[in-house]
Amino acid sequence: MTDSADQARVDQALVARVLLADDRRAFEQLLRRYQGLVRAQLRRLLNGDHASADDLAQETFLLAWRKLHQFRGDARFSTWLHRIAYTCFLQARRKPSLPSDRHDDEAAQQTAPSHAMDLHLDIESAMQRLSAAEQTVLLHCVQLGMSHSETSYVLAMPLGTVKTHAAQGKAKLRALLADWHDTDRKEQTS
């Protein structure tokens, strides 16, 4: 039995305890297991706005508590939570109080980073040059470790579109990083 299958069984048992016995401690265990990744997801989606991300994370878990009877076990519990979090993010983004569309246009117009920047800053700048959809897909597929089908479920995006965004995002990152490093190397040798 794999780790993820074990985890899924534990999650199912905890969900059953909440639903059948109104066990708040079981929900607290679920909360402690997944708060870290849900908050990390929202912080990334909100471009590092920790306060707003934590507000949305609270909203996510309160909604999960109210709607727990709708969890069927078709997806992993963590995936279900990430989907609620992403939906909360989209709803919040429609309100005027949250900064909308973090990247896209202005990010695309940014100048190339200084060649003296280290790799960390390179990848940071390169990420900002991707479209919002590519960044979101790479966040879920690579950084949060989800499969393409899980990402498709969380983002309510067709599987083919997820795969396309993931491939395009990686290709753009490779090209951007290669360009900058080639230029960097040429400058160093000249």
Partner: protein
């Protein structure tokens, strides 16, 4: 290591990972409302009362009485067929409604569908 693996490794190195709790769970637990328990008996009572009222109001209709009598005696008459068709239609409508409801509940994670990316 392939080029894709290298890009993924860079992205992973950039990701800070799970956020430490720092009182978050306590704050959420403090805000949890009490859970309303769902009781099954109102549905069962409603079904029984509804069926009884339906039967009482329909038994005075001649077509229904004739259809029911013919059906019980095994006679395939027009009233019996009409009654059968009406019952089959209502059953199909109920089945379609149940499937639609079940599908809605399965596809809902608790919120409306995400629509933009």
């Amino acid at each position: 290591m392939s080029e894709d693996d290298a890009v993924e490794a860079l992205l992973l190195a950039r990701f800070e990972g799970p956020v430490p709790d720092e009182g978050f769970c306590d704050a959420v637990m403090h805000r949890l409302p009490s859970r309303r328990r769902r009781h099954a008996w109102p549905l069962a009572v409603g079904l029984v009362v509804g069926a009884a009222v339906c039967w009482l109001s329909l038994q005075s209709v001649p077509l229904v009485r004739a259809g029911w009598r013919d059906w019980l005696s095994g006679e395939v008459s027009a009233p019996a067929l009409t009654l059968l068709l009406v019952m089959a239609g209502i059953s199909l409508l109920t089945l379609a409604w149940t499937i639609a409801e079940a599908d809605d509940r399965r596809s809902e994670p608790g919120l409306q569908q995400p629509v933009s990316h």
